[in-house]
Amino acid sequence: MKTAGFEGNFELAAVEHRPFLMQIAVASTRNVDDAEDIVQEALMRAHRGIGNFRGDCPLRTWLARIVVHVSINHRRSFVRRVKRWTLFSDLERQDSEGKTSAFDAPDRSKDFDREAMLDVGRQVEKLRDEFRVPLLMLAVKGMTIPEIAAILAIPEGTVKSRIFYGRKRLKEALKL
């Protein structure tokens, strides 16, 4: 498909960016269990709309914007879920025994005790989306303030002050 912005194999691009997009979905959604569904749906929509990608930002930024949009509008529905997973080939990793590999990052939560992690989870959940999402996005490996601003379509200054506010609330709530 000749487009202004994207030339190449969409499937390969989707596989390459999927881990990043999973983290974006985890940062954006209020329910982490929906993250994979959200990414699947976002990739479906991105594929349909790839002609709209003008190449004026990195592809992963454009894909991430779609993920955030899908997260906001995500409704759980059995029919849509079956469609997503049956008709759109998923990008599942399976080893020779047919087991799916889990997320590979080292589990840094072991550095903190279970109570502390539960606390963080509760307090993060209490933050309003406008503060929670940029703060969690910043924790994504390789993420920068300018990219968060591009994904959320808000000025960098706004990203910075929202992150600061989120940090401040968490620090107070966690008594650190």
Binding site: H47, R108, R167
Partner: protein, 282 residues
């Protein structure tokens, strides 16, 4: 500049994102040396960041574990496809009754690729599809692994400067252009911070001025800031750092070209730097 606790509290956002000018910065660091309360505050924010990072890791791991319909056998796929087809037809019928000309069955909406290179190819056998997917997927997995490894070149955004691209603790990114017009002295640190104390001496000896910036760059993304260090410590994001290995420093002129390099372990480190800075007019 006289910095007290009240000043720190009012300027916390700038402090945490390392946006102080050299005058404010030296005032802040002097204050930090003597003020346990402010040190505690800053450390508290660092803890928040670490907890948020751990939280994200945990949530992402959980997201990957959610079971979803698997296409692991032909029979399951056939049953699932049939079920979806039935459901789709059931939902499609009412809309056909209303607008027969324009409504498209939901199945067709997903299964009609525009081009041969489309991701979706319903005609392929599900098993073949699954195994084709597995291969690129396995390659994608290592991108997740690198959280304790040195940042790879895959981290660097397409628009960034491949020679020098670092971020500070708050996530703000810097490339050489951000230092244009100033002399930049940076040191590269690896897993161990053995040379950090020596670079701290450099930092203490050459007070940052408006046209002199001194900072350390870590090549290991999760290394914690060593104690007793007050120079700014950034993290490399996949750039070549002007091809500088850990344990060495570079003096970059105001025009962005490297002027002097050397090892942090040199006995004459301070003198070497002093003469380099003099040569650059400082």
């Amino acid at each position: 500049m006289n910095v007290d606790c009240r000043w720190v509290a009012s300027n916390l956002e700038a402090v945490l994102s390392d946006q102080l000018d050299p005058d404010q910065k030296s005032g802040f660091e002097k204050h930090l040396n003597t003020c346990e309360y402010c040190r505690g505050e800053i450390e508290g924010y660092a803890k928040v960041d670490r907890l948020v990072g751990a939280h994200m890791n945990q949530q992402t791991a959980r997201a990957y574990e959610v079971p979803h319909p698997r296409i692991s056998s032909g029979r399951l796929a056939a049953v699932a496809t049939a079920a979806a087809a039935v459901l789709a037809v059931v939902l499609w019928l009412p809309s056909v009754a209303n607008q027969p000309a324009t409504q498209v069955p939901p199945l067709a909406e997903v299964s009609a690729p525009d081009t041969p290179s489309a991701v979706v190819d319903i005609d392929k056998a599900p098993d073949a599809t699954a195994s084709e997917r597995a291969k690129p997927g396995v390659d994608a997995a290592p991108a997740q692994k690198a959280q304790t490894a040195p940042a790879s070149t895959a981290d660097i955004p397409e628009s960034a400067d491949p020679r020098f691209y670092v971020t500070d603790a708050a996530g703000y990114s810097y490339s050489l252009d951000d230092f244009a017009g100033s002399v930049l002295v940076f040191a590269v640190f690896g897993e161990s911070y053995a040379e950090a104390a020596r670079f701290q001496e450099v930092y203490d000896s050459y007070a940052p001025k408006s046209n002199l910036r001194i900072l350390g760059v870590s090549t290991v993304t999760t290394a914690a800031r060593p104690s007793g260090i007050t120079f700014p410590l950034m993290t490399n994001r996949g750039s070549s750092l002007l091809d500088t290995p850990a344990g060495e420093f570079v003096v970059v002129g105001a025009d962005g070209t490297p002027h002097r390099r050397g090892s942090l372990n040199d006995d004459g480190l301070l003198e070497t730097l002093g003469s380099a800075l003099r040569e650059l007019g400082l």
